[in-house]
C-alpha cells in the first residue's frame, strides 16, 4: 500500500520536450512509473523517450486519460499549465517549477480546490510510492519499499534522510515533498492524515524547516489525531532571522517560525525530534520497536 499514487496511476509530463522534462521522463520510466505521454505546445507528433508528445493536455487525455500530471514548465507559464491540467481533469498535479509568483500560486490553489485536484508543490521534488510510482525528480535508488512514510518541505534534505533510512535497511511507503514555497498545495496535515489511514505505513518521518507555522500546526494535529509514531527533523537551527534561506518559506519574521517554537511544539506532541539528519534512522527504529 501507499498514499496518493500507486503502480496503476497514469501520469502525464507537461513540458516533456525540455531539458529537465525529458531527463526526468527517462528517470521516471526507469523507476517504473506508468507514464502515458507528455505535452509541449506546437510539438504534437514528436516522441520523447518512446512517449507521444501532444500540443495540449486535452489532446493527451483524448489519446489516453491520466490521473496525474507533473509540470516542468517555466515559472511565467506555470499557472496556465496548471489551469490546463485541472480543467482537463487531472486529479493530482505535481508542480516541480521553482519561482512561481506567489499570487499565481494562490490562483492555482484556489482553482484546484474548487475542482478537487490535489496539488503537490510548487517547488517540490515530487512524490514517490516506493517500488510503484515516482512522480518527481528525486534520485531513484533510495526509494525502496518499507514501513516508513516521509513528508518533507525540502528536497535534497529528504533525499539525504531517505538515503540514511535505506542505508539502515529502512524502506518507505510513500515519500511526499510539499515544496519549499510559501504557498503549497499539500500540507503536512493532509499527508499525515493519509499516512495515518495507510495500513502499510508504520511510522512517519516529518522533515521541516524554519519559517511559517506549518510544523506547529502539524504538531497540534499529531497530538490530537495520530496514533502512529512520528519522527521529525527541522532544518535551520543556525539561520539568522530576517534572511531568506533559499526557500521562500524559510525566513524567520517578527519572531515567528523560529526553530525553537517548532521544536517545542513537536516535543509537546510527543514527536521524536532528531538533532541532526543522520539521527533519523535510529529514532525510526526506536519508534518501530515501540509501536
Amino acid at each position: 500500500m501507499a498514499i496518493y499514487i500507486n503502480k496503476s496511476t497514469r501520469v502525464l509530463v507537461q513540458g516533456i520536450t525540455g531539458r529537465q522534462g525529458s531527463f526526468h521522463t527517462a528517470q521516471m520510466l526507469a523507476y517504473g512509473t506508468r507514464l502515458v505521454g507528455g505535452t509541449s505546445p506546437g510539438k504534437s507528433g514528436q516522441v520523447v523517450e518512446g512517449l507521444p508528445v501532444y500540443d495540449t493536455v486535452f489532446e493527451a487525455m483524448e489519446a489516453e486519460p491520466a490521473e496525474a500530471s507533473i509540470l516542468f514548465i517555466p515559472a511565467p507559464f506555470a499557472r496556465d499549465a496548471a489551469y490546463e491540467a485541472i480543467d482537463a481533469g487531472i486529479k493530482l498535479l505535481v508542480v516541480i517549477t521553482e519561482g512561481i509568483p506567489l499570487h499565481d500560486a494562490l490562483d492555482i490553489m484556489d482553482y484546484a480546490h474548487r475542482e478537487g485536484t490535489v496539488v503537490v508543490g510548487p517547488n517540490t521534488f515530487g512524490l514517490v510510492s516506493s517500488g510503484q510510482c515516482k512522480i518527481g525528480i528525486m534520485p531513484n535508488r533510495f526509494y525502496v519499499p518499507g514501513p516508513v512514510g516521509v513528508v518533507s518541505r525540502s528536497g535534497t534534505l529528504s533525499y539525504e534522510i531517505v538515503g540514511n533510512l535505506s542505508d539502515a535497511g529502512l524502506g518507505t511507503t510513500t515519500v511526499v515533498g510539499m515544496g519549499g514555497d510559501r504557498v503549497v498545495g499539500l500540507g503536512f496535515i493532509d499527508v499525515l492524515k493519509e499516512f495515518e489511514k495507510d495500513p502499510a505505513t508504520e511510522v512517519v518521518v516529518l522533515v521541516g524547516e524554519i519559517g511559517g507555522s506549518a510544523e506547529e500546526e502539524a504538531s497540534r494535529f499529531i497530538a490530537a489525531h495520530m496514533s502512529k509514531p512520528v519522527v521529525a527533523y527541522i532544518a535551520g537551527k543556525s539561520a539568522p532571522p530576517g534572511k531568506r534561506m533559499g526557500h521562500a518559506g524559510a525566513i524567520i519574521e517578527g519572531g515567528r517560525g523560529t526553530f525553537a517554537s517548532k521544536i517545542e511544539a513537536l516535543h509537546e506532541a510527543k514527536v521524536r525530534v532528531a538533532e541532526l539528519p543522520f539521527e533519523v534512522p535510529s529514532l525510526v527504529r526506536e519508534a518501530l520497536g515501540n509501536s
Binding site: R19, Q20, F23, H24, P76, G99, P101, L102, H103, D104, A105, L106, D107, D110, H113, F125, I137, M138, P139, S152, S154, G155, T156, L157, S158, Y159, E160, G163, G180, R182, V183, V184, G185, V207, E209, I210, G212, S213, A214, Y233, A235, G236, K237, S238, A239, P240, K243, R244, M245, G246, H247, A248, G249, A250, G254, G255, E275, L276, P277, F278
Partner: protein, 368 residues
C-alpha cells in the same frame, strides 16, 4: 522586495489611498526646504526595518532650522545596522485614532489574509491575538463590501469610519493583488477627523513576480556578493564565518550549516546552488564561494537532478583557473557519483560519502 516608506506611499497614492503631504529628501538642506512648506512636520528615516521609531529614527520639528538639524542627525545614523540615506519629510497630521491594517498571504489557508486591529501604532507582534482580526480572503471573490462590513461589525466599527473602510480596504487589496505584493501594511492607519490617512507604509513585493512589474523600482538590502548571486540566479546569504558552504537544495544547505555549527565551526555563507546546474553555473557558484575569503570550503552534493560529475568538473576548472589552494571537504553522492569521484581523485581529493564526515572534516580544516 521591501519598499521604502516613501515608495510605498507613492503606490498608495496611485491607488487612491490618502497619505500625508510629504517629500523624500537626501540632505539636511532639502529637509529644511520641505519642512518650511508644512510648519509642523515630521522627519522620518527611510530604512527597511520596522523598529526605527524606537531607535530614534523619527523626529518631530516645528521649523526649517530644526528640520535641518534633525535631518543631519538622522542621516548620520545607522538603524539595525542599516545606514540612513533618505528621509521622508511630511506635514504633521493630527490623529484622533490609530488603527492597524495589513494584507498578506497565509500559507495555512493558501489565501490572502486581511489583518485589522483597533490597536494601531504599536508593533504588530505586541497586539494581543484576540484584538487582531484575521480574515482569509477568497482570491476568487476578492475583498467584497460584505466582508468589510462584517469585519467592521466584529470590531465594533460603525458609521463614518465603516464607510471609510469600505472605500479604503478594496483599494489596498487591489494594490496587493495587482502589484504582486507579499505584504501591504498600514500602521498606523490614522483617523484624522472623518478621513483615514496612511501614516506609514510597508509594502513588500514578491521577487518572483518582479519580471511583470517593470514600473516598480528595484530596492535591495543585499550585499554586493548577494547581488552578484542574485544575478547568477543563486540563493546566497553572507553569514560572516570561516567555512564557505555550498550544497544543492535549500533544506540540505540549511541542515549542513546547522551541522557545521553543531560541530563547532562557523559558516561563511548560505549557498544553495539549486538543482540541475550546468558547468558554467556551478563554476559561478564556486567563484562566489571563494569571494567570501573563507579558511575552508565545504561542498555537499546529493545528486538527483544535479550531476556529481558536473560539480566536480566545475570545481577542477575553478581550482585551476583561480589557483585555489584552500582546504576542501567534499561530499558527493547520487547521480554520476563515480564519474565525479574520479575527477576529484585526479586532484587528490577523496570525497566523503556522508554529510556528517564531510562536515566534521570541514570544521577540522577550518580551525587556525
Amino acid at each position: 522586495m521591501k519598499l521604502y516608506e516613501y515608495l510605498g506611499k507613492q503606490l498608495f497614492a496611485r491607488y487612491g489611498i490618502a497619505i500625508p503631504k510629504g517629500q523624500m529628501v537626501e540632505t539636511p538642506g532639502e529637509a529644511a526646504e520641505a519642512a518650511a512648506e508644512y510648519g509642523e512636520a515630521v522627519v522620518k528615516s527611510q530604512v527597511l526595518t520596522g523598529k526605527r521609531g524606537k531607535a530614534g529614527g523619527i523626529a518631530f520639528v516645528s521649523s526649517p532650522d530644526q528640520a535641518r538639524q534633525e535631518a543631519a542627525r538622522l542621516l548620520a545614523m545607522e538603524i539595525q545596522g542599516l545606514p540612513v540615506e533618505k528621509l521622508l519629510v511630511e506635514e504633521k497630521i493630527s490623529i484622533d485614532q490609530e488603527l492597524y491594517l495589513a494584507i498578506t498571504v497565509d500559507g495555512a489557508s493558501r489565501s490572502p489574509i486581511l489583518l485589522v486591529s483597533l490597536d494601531g501604532g504599536m508593533e504588530v507582534e505586541e497586539v494581543p491575538a484576540e484584538r487582531m482580526l484575521r480574515w482569509p480572503v477568497n482570491v476568487n471573490l476578492g475583498l467584497q463590501p460584505y466582508a468589510i462590513r462584517e469585519i467592521c461589525r466584529r470590531l465594533g466599527i460603525g458609521g463614518g469610519l465603516q464607510k471609510q473602510m469600505l472605500e479604503l480596504v478594496p483599494r489596498l487589496y487591489r494594490l496587493f493583488r495587482e502589484l504582486d505584493a507579499e505584504l501591504v501594511e498600514i500602521n498606523p492607519l490614522a483617523l484624522c477627523g472623518s478621513g483615514l490617512i496612511a501614516a506609514d507604509a510597508k509594502v513588500t513585493i514578491d521577487e518572483d513576480a518582479l519580471y511583470r512589474h517593470k514600473e516598480l523600482p528595484r530596492i535591495t538590502e543585499k550585499t554586493a556578493l548577494e547581488l552578484r548571486a542574485e544575478e547568477l540566479g543563486l540563493a546566497f546569504v553572507e553569514l560572516g564565518g570561516e567555512i564557505a558552504v555550498m550544497a544543492n537544495g535549500a533544506g540540505i544547505t540549511m541542515a549542513t550549516l546547522d551541522m557545521v555549527q553543531h560541530y563547532g565551526g562557523t559558516p561563511a555563507n548560505f549557498l544553495d546552488m539549486g538543482g540541475g546546474a550546468d558547468l558554467e553555473r556551478t563554476a559561478n557558484a564556486l567563484e562566489l564561494l571563494l569571494a567570501t575569503n573563507p579558511r575552508a570550503i565545504l561542498i555537499n552534493i546529493f545528486g538527483g537532478i544535479t550531476r556529481c560529475d558536473v560539480v566536480a568538473e566545475a570545481f577542477a576548472q575553478v581550482k585551476e583557473s583561480r589557483g585555489v589552494d584552500l582546504p576542501v571537504s567534499f561530499r558527493l553522492v547520487g547521480t554520476n557519483e563515480e564519474e565525479g569521484r574520479a575527477v576529484l581523485e585526479r586532484m587528490g581529493i577523496s570525497a566523503f560519502h556522508s554529510t556528517e564526515e564531510a562536515v566534521r572534516h570541514a570544521v577540522e580544516i577550518s580551525l587556525p
